[in-house]
Structures are given as C-alpha cells and as structure tokens.
C-alpha cells in the first residue's frame, strides 16, 4: 500500500543542489523519447525530413561567408587571419544564442501545450525541460559539425581545441535548464511572457560579443557585457572552435558555479509552483 505520489508535491529533495539532474537520470528513457520526438516532429511531413537540420545551418554558414567575407570583408579582431574567418566566428557565437533562444522560446509554452500531461496522466513534468534541452542540443551538435566540416575549407585546418567544446556546453547547460524551468513555470501564469521572450533573446544576442568582438565595445562598457549570461559561453565557443585557444578557465569555473546555483533555484521554483498548473492550464 503506497500513498499516491501526488502530482503536486515534489518527488525530489529540493534541498539537494543535484536534484535538477535527478530529474534527468530518473526518467532517462522518457527524456530521450520526448527529445527524439521534438526533433523528428519538426520535420514531419516535409520531403527532405531530417536532412533539413543539416541543410539549414549549412546554408546559414554559406550566407554569412558570402556577406561578411566577400561583401563586407570584415575582420573579427587582431587575431583574425582573413575575411572569411569572420563568418566562422559569427556562426560559432550565434549557435550558442540559437541554442538558448530555442529553449527559452519553447519554455514559455512548454506546459500549456502539454496540457494533457498536466491533467490526464501522472507525468514527470520537470523532465520536459531536459527533453527540450536534448532536442536543442541535437541541433547545436549538427551546426557545430557543419562548422567543423567547413573549417578545413575556410581556414585550412580544424583547431585541436574543439575537443574542449563539450566542456563549454556542459557549463552552459545548467543555466539553460534553469531558464527553461523558470520560464515554463512563469509561462503558465503569465501568458504575456511568450510575447516578450522573443525580444529578450534578441537583446541578449546583441548585448553579447556574438556579432561583434568585445574589443569593439567602449572600454567602460566592456565589463558590463559579462552580466549577460551568454557572453562567457559565446567567447569560449569562439575560442575553442575557431581561434584554437582554450577558454578562459577562471571565467568558466565561476560560470559553472553560478549556472548550477541558478538551475537549483529555478528547479525548486518549478517544483514549488507546479501545484497550481492544473488549476489554470
């Protein structure tokens, strides 16, 4: 005889900072199934199907290369070797923003769109965050592979530091997961959020050294850029994927601490507020 594990009470010990990751390991098969479904569902019915997830980043990179390498003839910063590298740096940074924006945009409607999981079955709603991350991660991987495949053509080599890229992404994940939990919960109660989130993610892109190098920013504003959670990760990605430099480890170390703390608090918030979902979904 067991007490019904009620939907509305948390199945986790929220005082445990690792509880957000238990949501992943406990329901791993479910997360994989949902993430896979997110990816295949997007291309369902289209002729080229999954091929689009390769084609899209490839075309984007081609357009950047033409516009910034041939028309603008831009150089990133002092480290730049030629015009074409600009497109690669831009692409590396934008992939980080795209990954974040994809998750954040989905998050605001994550619960509302899965109303049947709230009301009809006992569903571990907290795992929806991980499956959202999972499918976005798939797209990030594909984009990164496209970038790496283009590297020998554009730059003549693939920097060895790409093996550090997974570490950079791992540091980023808790922050993104926390954002999804927070927005998913707030999105249920504040329906205006989904309208606002697009402009916020765009602002975060332009207020990070993604389309321009940090060195271009006036000295007194440069440090302010670090208030943007995308800055450290975008710079680290550009370093490891294009410039062949390791990330600034001190930055990344601090980042992973802050990121983990944020994920923990956001997860606890989600678990505390989920009891109201069924009332308003």
């Amino acid at each position: 005889m067991e007490q019904i594990p009620a939907m509305t009470t948390s199945a986790y010990r929220l005082t445990d900072p690792l509880s957000p990751y238990l949501a992943l390991t406990r329901h791993f098969a479910l997360v994989v199934q949902m993430a896979r479904r997110n990816v295949t569902g997007r291309y369902r019915g289209s002729f080229a199907g999954l091929f689009w997830s390769f084609l899209n980043p490839l075309l984007v990179l081609a357009i950047y290369t033409f516009v910034f390498g041939v028309i603008f003839k831009s150089r990133w910063d002092a480290r730049a070797t030629d015009h074409f590298q600009y497109a690669m740096v831009l692409f590396a940074g934008l992939n980080i923003n795209t990954f974040f924006a994809e998750c954040a945009n989905r998050a605001t409607t994550l619960i509302v769109e899965n109303a049947s999981f709230v009301k009809r079955v006992v569903f571990p709603l907290e795992t929806l965050t991980w499956s959202t991350l999972g499918s976005a991660l798939f797209h990030l991987c594909v984009s990164t592979l496209v970038l790496l495949a283009a590297s020998p053509v554009v730059m003549g080599h693939i920097p060895w530091t790409v093996i550090l890229f997974p570490i950079v992404v791992m540091c980023f994940l808790p922050f993104v997961a926390g954002t999804v939990w927070l927005l998913a919960s707030l999105g249920v109660y504040l329906r205006d959020l989904r309208q606002a989130i697009g402009i916020v993610t765009m602002a975060m892109m332009f207020l990070a050294p993604i389309v321009y190098p940090r060195t271009l920013v006036p000295m007194r504003y440069q440090d302010l850029l670090y208030l943007n959670p995308l800055t450290i990760i975008a710079e680290a990605s550009q370093n490891v994927l294009v410039f062949g430099e390791p990330p600034v480890w001190g930055h990344l170390g601090l980042y992973v601490l802050g990121s983990g703390l944020f994920a923990w608090l956001a997860f606890a918030w989600f678990e505390k507020t989920r009891k109201g979902f069924a009332d308003v979904v």
Partner: protein, 493 residues
Amino acid sequence: MSCDDPGIRVEGLSKRYEVYAQPADRLKQMILPRMQRALGRPAHAWFREFWALRDVSFDVRKGETVGIVGRNGSGKSTLLQLICGTLSPTLGKVAVSGRVAALLELGAGFNPEFTGRENVRLSGLLYGLSERELAACHEAILDFAEIGDFIDQPVKTYSSGMYVRLAFAVAINVSPDILVIDEVLSVGDEAFQRKCFARINRIRANGATVLFVSHSAGTVIELCNRALLLDRGELLTEGSPKYVVSRYQKILYSPAGKYQSIRERIRTGKEADALPFDEQSEPRVRTSCTAGVGDPEGRGGAQAVDGAVTTPVAAKAVGNGPAKGMDGSFFEEGLIPKSTFHYDNSGASILDPHIETPDGRRVNILEAQREYLYAYRVKFDRTVRDARCGMLIKTITGLELAGCITSWHGDSLPNVDAGTELEVRFRFPCLFASGAYFLNAGVQGRLGGEHVYLDRWIDGAMFKVLHEPGRLATTMMDIGIKPEIHVSNGVTA
C-alpha cells in the same frame, strides 16, 4: 496478500477546485497571502472555490469491481483523477497498491501531435514499463486496438472510436493491478465494447481491482460487485449495484421540488441500514421472495435483492415479506416521458394513463416476468357510437413492440352517452428486456357517421424494466423460447 487487503483506500477525501479569473491570479495566490500573513494582515483569496468532493471515504478490496454512479457534475471524474494521482486532494488521503492504469475521459494522456505508436511507447514509459516489457506488449496493444495503418498517424487525426480503442488497449495491456475506467467505452462500437468487457472480465479474473464509472445502469449491475452513489460531491450511499442504481435513478428523475427530500432520504437510509452492502442484509430479502408468483423458474429470488427494501409486488405475492415497500421503490415520480404528444381531442378525453400492479399499486419500475396493468380512464362529453380503446408499447427508439385494442369494429360499444366515464385496463406480462418503454393510448368512435380518433396520446406514460439477472432471452422480448442443448456424438467433458 489476502483478499481483505484494500486495493484502494480513500479516507475523508475532499477536493476543492480553485477557480481563477486569470492565470496570474494563481501565482499571486501562491505568494501574496504568505506575505500578508507575515505582515500580520488578513490574507486575501484570489479565487472562487468550488468543492467537487466532500469527505468521501471508502475501501475497495483487491479483486473487487466497483461501479460509481452519479449525475453529471457529481464528482465522479474528480474522484477517479484523485485515485489516479493526476489531481491532489485538498483534504484527506488516497492510497493504492500496485500499478494503476486509467482511462480518464477522452484522451487518456495521449499527446495529440504524436503518432499512435509514439503514444503507446510514451504511455508505456509513464506506466513504468521497462524497454523489454514495452517491446513484449507492444504487439498485443496494436492487435487489440485494431487501428491498422493509422498507427503511424498523429492521434489528432483519429476518430473518437480509434482514440478510445488505442487508449483502452494500452491500459489493459500494461497488466494493471487497478484499472480505472471513466465512462469512455460508450464511444466504441458495440463489437469493441463487447471485446473490452470480455477483457475486463479476464483482468478481474486475474485478481485486478476495477473501478468503473458508467451511466449505464445495466452495465453497472452486470459488471460490478458493489456500487457507490455520488451526488454533489458527497457519497450518498453504497451497496449492491442494484440497490445503488435504483437510488441513482430516483435522484436522476426527481422532480425539481422533491430533489432535496429524496436526496436526504437516500442519505439517511444509509444511516438506518448500518451496512447496506453487508452480504447479510440481502439474504433476508431473498429468502422471503423465493416463491415469487408468476415466476415458475424461481427466479424471483434474485430479483428482489434491492437492499433492505422489499417490493410491493413481492410483499403481496408472498404475503409475509416485510411491509417496507411503501417508500415507492417501484415508483419514480419523475419518470415521465418528455416526448408526450396529445392530439386535439373531440368528444372524449383520456385521463391518467398509468401502469399498476394487479393489486392496484401504481408503479413505473417493472420487474421482468411479472404481470401488470396498463390503465386509463375515458370521459365522454358527447354521445358516441362504436367506441373502442387501444394501447401500444414502444421502445425508446420508437419501435412498436406490442399493442391491443378493446374490440373490432363489429363488437364495439354500440352507444356511449355523453357524461359516461369508462375505466380501461390492459393486463400484460412484462416480457421486456431492461430499459425504458413508452405507452400510447387512444380511443376511437363514430361521430356523425365518421369513424375518428376521439382522443389520442403518444408517449402518454413510460415505464422502466429492471435488469433481470440470469435472463437467457436476448434482445427486446422474452417470448418464452426454451433452449435445449445436447451432446450429439456421445463425448462429454
């Protein structure tokens, strides 16, 4: 585990829905009252409250099949959802033992965008099946659901029948310990319903507990060991399915003004019979009715298991039954056809068409195999020649089952004076299957040379026939067919 182990235990369960004007109010409710209390101010509530369930307690033993009946909005679905864990109780406790598979409303947790196959996998994972178990029952699920190629289409494209077939197929193939079914089977066609009931029976035979919401009285009586009656969130009574269903119908057909008193009587009736579902309370009635009149097979014994209340007919026929039948067990005031149509009358009016027992008690709940009278009065306000009366019994779909006239043209009453009042009675055996039936009445005569209807009622009265346990006759009428079966090649089991 012994049989006495409760499969489901519900204690003091109450559920309050909080109805919010805006989603944002829900968020305020979570944060602001705490702050207000911390500041020593009275806490404000941002919602209207609605109590869907109040203090409901019951146990369901392992292997039992329990039906829940009640009108729309009585809290049945809320109760099932609380048991499944998709809702959390406001007060009280629910405990279950084992895996609960549920078919709640339409949908059963399917994601409309996913294909049937994906949903099957997803549901399996949610029921906690391992990959291996999932693979093992996948084929069985698809076989049972009979979806065909649609299995790879998103379920939003499914017809409601396909949807329920798939949901049901999943629920019964994950080998549940407790199966919860919320009035969904009515969507499927009859063949599929048949298949589902056969499957439910098999699950029951394997010792699973079944909890079952239905509006179909027949299904509850047939399938369940016990039934609960919910009304306005309150558990009014529980007991044998027949006892509960008859109370349910009373509530259902209660006239507007009488609802409260009927409800109160059912509720206090529960208090009077300390244990209405106690097995011991039934044989008391049974033994007193074993020699029911008009019941050569001795089936009357099983007919009057109506809790502690004996039937008026049985009381009369046997002569020594407890005289408690006067609460109108077999008469529901609200059981009046809504389709009544009265032609404009000329020359005579039919008054008070109704059914009564041979000893003159008015009833409209009939027991199979007993005799009843269909009676009405005809008042003539003009002098009429060749008057004759007629009746007709029809099913709910309008099928004309049986009828009778008082005479042929030749031998009609030659002359009826103005002011005469006739009493007309048609005696008939109740050979009908359980269900609702409707009665026509008509009187014809010659007015100024022409033979015309003087008065005519379509659906002037209705009656219901109770389910007859052990009935072998199929479909509408039991015309007395006697089955025989012999082994023809001499080999016996």
